[in-house]
Structure formats: C-alpha cells, structure tokens
Amino acid sequence: MGGEDCSFEDIYRGHSGMVYRLALRMLSRVEDAEEVTQQVFLAVHRSLKTFEGKASLKTWIYRIAVNCSLNLLKKRKNRFEVPWMEGFDPADTKSVTEQKIAAEEGQSKVADLLECLNEDQKVCILLRAQEGLTYEEIADVLHINVNTVRSRLSRARMTLIAQKKGLL
C-alpha cells in the first residue's frame, strides 16, 4: 500500500490503533500515548508525499512510532531525574499513572512486568507478542538484523520469566 493510494484519514484509521497501543505500552501513560499518536501522524502527514514505498506503510509508521515513543521516554526520564526542579513528586505521578492505566486497560500488571526490560527489549517483545510482527518486520522497523531481533527477544523473555516468578 503506497502513500498515494489512499487518503490520510484512511491511513490514520488503519494505523492509529497500533501506534496508540504501542505508545501506551512503551510510555504507560494515556496522555503520552496520545501525544505520540499525534506526533506520529503529523509526521506521516508531512512526509507522505516523499514516502517512496520502499518499506511497507505499516513498517514505516511503526518506525516513526518507535522513534517518537523513545524520544518522549527520554524526555520524561530527564524530567523525573530532576523532579525537585519542577516541583512535583514522582511518587504522585506514579500513582496517577497506575490509576490511568488500570482505568484504561485494567492491566497494570503487564505494565509492571515490562518495567524490568530495557527499551530495546521492550520494543522487540511488544512488536512481536503484542503486535504480531515477524522477526523480519521487526528488523525492518528497527533497522537491525534478524539475529539481533532474535537475541533481544530471547533476553526479554528470559528476563520476563524471571520477573514473573519473582512477582508471583
């Protein structure tokens, strides 16, 4: 599916769910997931004319979504590392975060579980287990080779199993 073949609104309808889901899992906050979704589709709208269809539209949008999520995650981490400068308590934010996730998904356990992974592993396992992408598609999205995808998934699952045993 090329960028020229369908309208921007069609593209949004077909892909907003996957972007929002991924961002929500990456960032654990509804507001951040909405922010990422907005950023992603504004970027898609700007670049649609130059999208050459070398990658699939889905892969391309996932790539933008991963980049935007990681950028916002980095910004948020910086924000949390100096909370006294902005005058808020990270513990407060966490309880708000948990409430939001619980309200939105009733699945805060999953968010807790994923917290033990580093960002690379988190992206890989989400693209595989949640989004159902193949190893080749994940490699394409992240610009890495399939062996790297494989080893990240192996480590992610190993860590998650250990974490789950500790949690239960």
């Binding site: 929002y20 889901r21 907005q38 004319k49 699945q107 356990k109 999953v110 494989r150 699952r157």
Partner: protein, 154 residues
Amino acid sequence: MNCGQIKDILLTDFLDGRLSLESTKTVDEHLSGCLACRALLMSAQQVDAQIKSVPVIEQAPFHVWARIANKIAQPVFCWQDFLGWGGRSRFVYGSVMAGLIVILFVANPILSQRRMATADSDADIVMQLVYADEDSFFIEADLSGIDLGSIDYL
C-alpha cells in the same frame, strides 16, 4: 541436543514458529523427556499470553484525531511553499534565479551607460527651454510656487 542449546531456541524460533518441521521434531523429542525445558516453554508462553491479553484497541481515542485534523487544517506559513520551492521545481527555480543574476550582471553596465546618456539629453532639453523661452519658463516656475491663499495678491 542438551538443555543449554535448546533453551535459546525454545524462547525464540520454537515459540514463534520459525523452525523447520525436522527441527521442531527434534525439540519435541527433547521436551517429552525434560521437565525443566517444558516448564521454561510454558512460562514463556504465559508471558507472551499476558502481553497479548491487552484489550484490543482498534483506534486511538477520537479526540486525538480531532486534534490532528485541527493542526493540519491550520495554514502554516512556509517560505518553501510560498515560493513553490520544493521537490522537482527546485532545479527549475535554481536555473531561473541563476539566469536572472547573470542578466543583471551583464545588463547593469549597459543600462547605466544608457542612463547617463538619457541624463545628458534631459539636461540639454532643460537648458534649451530656459534659453529659448526664458520668461515663460520662470513665470511657470513662479506660479507653481504660489498656493491658493496668495493668489489674491496677484
């Protein structure tokens, strides 16, 4: 195949269905005789199932689209758009601008020479007028300096 070798395959290729029929058979044979590897596989399947178990979100919340549509609808001033300076037209614009610059450089000395010549002839005409009809020229000049309020004095 021992447990150490099989562990990595279980957590990736086997779980994700990437093994050939023959390799799958080999792993299955190991699993049937190894409780530890069966337990590991089961744990991995549970982890994946938990991640997959999120409620299906087919669309982002509607107000996100409303915000995006609103942003897109706002005209953003951009010089590149204003000049049509993007994509394929960039080359055309570059050529046209280069041409204009060359024309200005070549034409400038010619034009300034022509301007000097024009200036000379204008001065000549003025002088001819002054000498040919000195009175009428000065009368005209005087009248032009008088405003309506002082006409009564004349």
